[in-house]
Symmetry: C2
Subunit: 586 residues, 2 copies
């Protein structure tokens, strides 16, 4: 037997008990003739005392860090109590021990502030996973997963597994495909989400479905995107938007309570997509702080300042309490908005002095009365700083949004321990894809338009006005979930496919099974999916989802530990009847 107890379990009450422990050698210290070893396992650390009688054995093969050993001995009260750990009252007086496995010196220190770089820690991920920080992240993930299941089970949701080897229906993101050996020259696709399956389950009468499920998207990886990711995928029948919002708000409240011990007695605030764009410049507002965008366009035009006069929009934010910003700080902020990612030509500012006077970087064009209007509109008080950007609508709104977030960050208003959820509702049904020069579904082609907007689908010029029964749940400025009430009638689904430029034949080829299903008694239904990786990262106070995935891939989609993807045998290619198109030799 390798152990009678874990390394996190023994207390002073067990003094005198003979025990066997197994674990990893965290540290070895020698005081006189006594060796002390901290033995670690998943559950904690226990101090071991090796007395003189074991010295010969220790000399023969000294214990090193990360050695795996099993020890037998007796629990004893400890002279120097360690109040920092639950086992700090005791130690185990070792009478015999076995080295189960030796260990080489790890390539980086296995500590919270490790000296290992990203790439090295990914290569030796199995060692990185030993670090307490990473372990806590994976434990949090498991607890979120468990809380989610417990909640959904209590509400009558049933987990149903949907297939991974499905059909490729390119629309939206790129599919990963899997060549079929048994069906030559044909391919499966890995699911981007179980969307159509969960809808079919509603048609089948399962009423409340969920699944914690891997999804796959072959996209060019931006920072912190993974080719495989996990969704909490849910669907309900006979519901309206309000039912979904209420049910999943309850779920998030349950998770906050279970994981963070936080209570949210009030309903989560809701904001329309249009308001989110107007006041925050994006569809996932971080409402941990105010600092709304204020539209100064009408106020500032016609004063001879060319930047404003030529702008489609002029937007301001009130950086509260920043009137004392130095010239250097303001120059630096100006450089910040001029970076290519933001792309503004400059930054205009106005300081509100202690006496209420307003001084701006464009005093030449605006007198104090005019500037005071800026202050009134932005609700700037003495001591505040008004920051203004101007230019083309979309770019400027995005820049103002980024500037707001940056100022929020600088002012310490984005505390990772504060959680502000927000429902964003009334999303547009379509968005215009500039590259493809066509309207695409903003959410996906199964999202229903607001009933009163269905008629607008006959008029291409009014597509931008059509709103959908679609909603996102945003947490601290990050979208953690989204969903919609679905189309459930064949004629409307056909209209939708047609609106997206699909011919009836193409629609039938790709989604014939769904159109067919809608003819055999499909109930009204809707659902939502949460990004588990992202949700865990936020709850864990991190920006990087990679920290919450046991074996993540790097930004090139590689698993550097496995060295995957990799070349496969010619025999495998032959069986699959595929050839590689190799890059021509230079």
């Amino acid at each position: 037997m390798y152990r009678t107890h874990t390394c996190g379990e023994l207390r002073i009450e067990q003094a005198g008990t003979p025990v066997t422990l197994s674990g990893w050698v965290q540290t070895v210290r020698k005081f006189g003739s006594i060796n002390f070893v901290d033995l670690r396992d998943r559950y904690g650390i226990t101090q071991l005392l090796f007395n003189e009688s074991l010295q010969a054995q220790l000399d023969a093969q000294p214990l090193g860090r990360e050695f795996v050993i099993a020890v037998s001995g007796t629990v004893a009260a400890r002279t120097s109590i360690n109040k920092n750990i639950p086992t700090g009252d005791i130690e185990v007086i070792v009478t015999q021990y076995t080295i189960l496995n030796a260990a080489k010196t790890p390539p980086f220190t296995i500590q919270d502030d490790t000296d290992g770089g990203d790439e090295l820690r990914m290569k030796f991920r199995y060692l990185d996973l030993r670090r307490n920080l990473v372990k806590q992240n994976l434990e949090l993930r498991y607890r979120v997963n468990r809380a989610t299941r417990n909640f959904l089970d209590s509400r009558g949701f049933m987990e149903i597994e949907t297939p991974f080897l499905i059909k490729s229906t390119p629309e939206g993101a790129r599919d990963f495909v899997v060549p079929s050996r048994m069906n030559t020259n044909e391919f499966y696709a890995l699911p981007q989400s179980p969307q159509t399956f969960k809808q079919l389950l509603m048609v089948s009468g399962y009423d409340r479905y969920f699944q914690v499920v891997k999804c796959f998207r072959d996209e060019d990886l931006r920072a912190d995107r993974q080719p495989e990711f996990t969704q909490i995928d849910c669907e309900m029948s006979f519901v309206e938007q309000e039912d979904i919002l209420n049910n999943f708000e309850d779920m998030l409240k349950y998770i906050f309570r279970e994981i963070k011990g936080l209570e949210f007695p009030e309903a989560f605030p809701r904001m329309t997509f249009d308001d989110a764009m107007e006041y925050y410049g994006n569809d996932k507002p971080d409402i941990r702080f105010d600092m709304k965008l204020v539209n100064l366009t009408n106020t500032v035009k016609g004063h001879g300042f060319k930047v404003f006069d030529e702008a489609e929009v002029v937007l301001a934010i009130n950086a509260t309490g920043c009137a004392e910003y130095t010239r250097k700080q303001l120059d630096e902020l100006t450089d910040w908005v001029k970076r290519p990612q933001i792309g503004m030509s400059g930054l205009i500012y106005a300081r509100v002095g202690a006496d209420g006077s307003v001084k701006s970087s464009v005093d030449k064009f605006f007198d104090e009365t005019q500037l005071k209007t800026w202050a009134t509109l932005t609700n700037a008080q003495p001591g505040d700083l008004i920051l203004v950007v101007a230019g083309r609508e979309e770019k400027t709104r995005k820049a103002a949004s980024e500037l707001r977030l940056e100022m929020g960050e600088r002012l310490g208003l984005r505390d990772k321990n504060v959680f502000k959820p927000l429902w964003v509702i009334d999303f547009p049904l379509f968005e215009y894809a500039e590259e493809e020069k066509r309207w695409v579904a903003r959410h996906h082609p199964f999202t229903s338009p607001k009933p009163e907007h269905i008629a607008l689908m006959d008029d291409l010029s009014r597509y931008a006005e059509i709103k959908a029964n679609a909603y996102d749940i945003v947490l601290n400025g990050t979208e953690v979930g989204g969903g919609s009430i679905r189309i459930f009638q064949r004629p409307l689904q056909e209209k939708m496919f047609a609106a997206l430029g699909m011919s009836p034949e193409e629609a039938q080829h790709k989604f014939g099974f769904l159109l067919g299903a809608f003819e055999y008694g499909a109930p009204p239904h809707g659902g939502i999916a949460f990004g588990l990786d992202r949700l865990c990262a936020l709850l864990g106070g991190s920006d990087t989802i990679r920290d919450f995935i046991a074996f993540p891939k790097n930004n090139s989609g590689r698993d550097v530990m496995l060295d995957a993807p990799s070349a496969i045998d010619e025999a495998q290619l032959n069986e699959l009847k595929i050839d590689l198109v190799r890059a021509p030799k230079a």
Copy 2:
């Protein structure tokens, strides 16, 4: 709002309550001026009464089967009570209703004994899933899943997700591969199991891991194999075989209790692989009945009966109480053992009469004294029938095993409501692959040999003798799980790879990450994986796992509902830099 209650919820206590229900029209019956509708949802069936005032609306669009409707009305006591359903005391007097979606006539009846053939029901799987039988299967699956999680959570197991896009390491079954677009000419593989990842998690100190996880094998599909299937995958550190067996025996007992209300107060029986082969002719004995194989080889040789004299082995079973089998029945059994799948040249039998006399089909060669020895050896009593097969060892043992199962079936000894679990232990480490002319791992290359047999690995001639720390859990003659204590030291793992004919370079290329991990403090560990599909099928009393999978594939690996796999666009092939090798035109 679509409903205030479900169709399974209303009781006599709610008489007089105004309610709204939604669901599917199960049946419509007309009595005089009254229309009765049975309305169905996931939770039950409620009778609706449409009185005369709604007749005009009903006439305008008659309700058909599987129409989806919402009705409002009042709960009333029912005159003709239906004791078969929980809502049978009441009906709802409908005052208004809406057709939410019409339905075409389904292509087969949505009933337990449907008139739909396999292929048709697979094509319209979303309708097949409406059948009560299928719904109960998926509910059972969810309950098994939930019970498993609850048990493992209570024992400190943590679910950790492992990746799906991994590295192809052909060994054992064929991998499904996924071409990488970002890493040209390279491929991911889909996991056949998370084996190496769970071992790495043990190296990382996670101590107790589980995952309910999809696995993939590109095998030629035999009946009732699926290319994707679900495992309950588990691993523990600092354990010996005994710990694993005890822990997962507890898990199965918990599942039996939760799902079937069955108690197993005794420990599950255990049998060595050698005994299983000796007494049952296979490694997964169905011990719901006895009828062990009895080896008559030494007894029957040398009596001039050529079939026995030339046989490697002669095996008998005692078909209890079958002495009265007619000539016709025995001829039929003889034909049965001569079928190509069984491949025996004939069947010998001996009847034990009421008076204890024994008459055989080979009386010419064996006198009554000799036949009485057969009866003694097989423990045949008056009224019993001894069945004997003879031939080459492997084939005959398999035939005897099949014959035993067939007789068990005919005698009604294989009751689907009786559950007899069995641990089979001490499996061989290797088995000889005739086609490849080499020794392969019987379980997988990470299984540890019995310590006392490690030395035999240096002698190829003794490979067959080497036993592994490997075990299967068998339920009613079906393997539902299996596992092993793993190798956790690099030298032994290298020795194992070498024994399997892998060069050090190949071992390093394929499994370098694991060999590396073993050098940094790997603990002793072991685990087990259960086939969830199979376990559910057994618990549900079915032979076909397909019945317990929401969207299964057919025997050609096709999803006939989706029509997958299918051809993909040239654009997709171009992006992936692969060409199809098309069959030459005839």
